[in-house]
């Protein structure tokens, strides 16, 4: 279990080990592709009479297709490629990502997003805090640190690639921007699938969950201006906020800073559930995470015990049941 070795150190007792093994075995049996694992320099069997396209992760040796990566062979029509499980994130235009600012350069921020290069967020490709559309002046440039500082966590969207292969981001809506009062998790990027919705508000817990396509996951206190509000409403609100803060700036500030203990606990619980699922190697979707959180509450599991052996095994077994019921429904 390489994933276990890497992520969690569990001390399973004998029965737990047996249960876990049987659960994982059943999951493997159910996987329809029965993933044939290839190692570097294994020949990939192809039918040479058909014309094939050699894709990513393959190289050529005496006319044979040879894997250049460790991973799973995937075939899409003529294309044969190797999908690596421990590779870095491969951005696509429109992906929603979470990243961390590592540097402020002229007119741009550089972000670490688990891509092979740093991503670039231009000052001109994000909305200014005052919400007015205008040219960015030298003053704006000097005030960049007041928007994002080094080590801030930011949510943004992939805008596109420059001709030299560097990656540009944009944050042109109120739902993007700085993330505060919460925690950042990093999981392997392949566990987060591209979906219609990456921003989630878990209403029962007052928690925001952002599943970045790059495997960075944000769990934080719910922020009101986040989400589907359109920009006009946001601006009005913002003005409200300004007015309020003018009236009683001190009290407002204090109220802003403190996150209630209850919410903090919820944040930790959601985060630990996501950690657990990534350690098990299950895809992270909001349904599965919420399901795990609910299971942990109903079984009275402590927040720290979510990562312990018993709940680990239970989660694996629950996943088996979920998939069994799914296949039944289909059949």
């Amino acid at each position: 279990m390489s994933t276990m070795l890497r992520e969690l150190r569990l001390s399973l007792n004998q029965t737990q080990r047996v249960r876990l093994q049987s659960a994982l075995q059943r999951l493997q049996d159910m996987a329809s592709l029965a993933s044939a694992v290839t190692v570097v320099a294994d020949t990939v069997p192809v039918n040479h009479e058909d014309s094939i396209l050699k894709g990513h992760g393959t190289s050529d040796l005496n006319g044979e297709v040879v894997a250049a990566l460790c991973g799973v062979v995937e075939r899409v029509n003529k294309l044969v490629y190797v999908r690596s499980q421990r590779a870095r994130y491969k951005p696509e235009v429109g992906d929603i990502i979470v990243g961390r600012v590592i540097e402020i350069a002229p007119k741009r921020w550089r972000l670490e997003i688990n891509f092979s290069q740093d991503a670039v967020l231009m000052l001109s490709s994000m909305n200014l805090p005052d919400g007015i559309q205008r040219r960015r002046t030298a003053v704006d440039e000097l005030n960049m640190r007041s928007i994002f500082e080094e080590n801030d966590v930011i949510c943004a969207e992939v805008r596109g690639f420059q001709h030299d292969g560097s990656l540009h981001l944009q944050a042109r809506s109120q739902k993007y921007g700085k993330l505060e009062r919460g925690m950042l998790l990093t999981v392997p990027a392949y566990l987060v699938k591209r979906q219609k919705q990456h921003f989630h508000h878990l209403e029962n817990y007052g928690v925001d969950l952002i599943l970045g396509c790059n495997g960075f996951i944000w769990v934080g206190e719910h922020v009101n201006s986040n989400g589907e509000n359109d920009m006009m409403v946001d601006q009005e609100k913002r003005e409200d906020v300004v007015n309020k803060s003018e009236v009683g700036q001190a009290t407002y500030e204090v109220r802003e800073r403190i996150t209630p203990l209850e919410i903090r606990k919820h944040v930790c619980r959601v985060a630990n559930s996501a950690r657990l699922l990534s350690a098990l190697g299950f895809s992270l979707t909001v349904e599965v995470i919420v399901d795990t959180v609910e299971a942990s509450i109903s079984s009275n599991t402590d927040i720290k015990d979510i990562l312990a052996a018993e709940f680990y095994v239970q989660t694996a077994e629950r996943e088996v049941q979920r998939r069994v019921s799914l296949t039944r429904r289909k059949g």
Partner: protein
């Protein structure tokens, strides 16, 4: 000696020199037993595992006899700004020793020669065109040095690169052979390395039958070189199978 304790240990260096001489003479003979009871053409048992460190994008641990090595691979990540633009990726290798790696406690330090040799051995196997503008960093740390360090580092590094998901033509495996008089001794320990007449190290890609690095030092005859190369290449392909099975095991869980 025990009845007469010496205040100064002046004789020690000459004594150890004498011991070395003695051993050297012994190794010149046609038949002697190795300290770990192996036959001349038998390698040390290899233990390999992936995922030794958490923070790296790929890592591996190797234990060949007493030689223990951890290799971590970082990247591909953006090259430093000071570096010029390059259409192919860069490989950056660094080999260092811990302070407790040798019997005599020393200063753990970078090993410049091994670093450059590791670079030479790996760069032929990595498909550098797949990550332009970026750098892959390979850091090897020798936990315990027990002879044949460089071959172990190279083999472990190729395993770590594969674990990091970096495109390679093939895994590389490396084996060294020492020459003692008429004998060829594979996978020498540090004791044997200290007395050898000559050494040969081959790094190869077994599936492609290509050699990425060959190092030859000391006295050799052509016939001996041929024999040693045959021996090395055979051992390399077997070692690659061990690496391969380790990767299979890690991938299939």
């Amino acid at each position: 000696m025990a009845t007469n304790p010496s205040t100064y240990a002046l004789s020690q260096s000459s004594e150890s020199k004498q011991r070395l001489q003695q051993r050297r003479r012994l190794f010149q003979e046609t038949d002697w037993t190795r300290s770990d009871g192996r036959s001349f053409h038998q390698c040390r048992p290899a233990f390999l595992r992936t995922g030794a460190t958490n923070a790296a994008s790929g890592s591996a641990y190797a234990e060949f006899g007493v030689t223990k090595v951890i290799v971590s691979v970082f990247g591909p990540r953006e090259s430093k700004k000071a570096m010029m633009y390059s259409g192919t990726g860069r490989l950056n290798c660094n080999v260092s020793y811990t302070t407790f790696s040798t019997p005599v406690r020393g200063q753990g330090s970078d090993h410049k020669e091994y670093s450059s040799m590791l670079h030479k051995a790996l760069e032929g196997a990595i498909i550098l065109e797949t990550f332009p503008k970026t750098t892959v960093d390979v850091f090897a740390l020798v936990l315990e040095s027990g002879g044949g360090d460089l071959p172990v580092i190279i083999t472990c590094a190729s395993l770590a690169l594969a674990d990091a998901g970096i495109m390679m033509y093939d895994l590389v495996a490396s084996v060294s052979v020492s020459c003692f008089g008429r004998n060829l001794v594979i996978d020498p320990t540090s004791e044997e390395e200290a007395c050898q007449d000559g050494a040969l190290m081959i790094t190869c890609m077994p599936a492609r039958n290509e050699v990425t690095q060959l190092t030859l030092t000391g006295e050799w005859t052509t016939a001996k070189i041929n024999e040693a190369m045959e021996l090395c290449l055979d051992a390399c392909s077997k070692l690659a199978e061990v690496v391969r099975s380790c990767l299979k095991e890690a991938a299939s869980g």
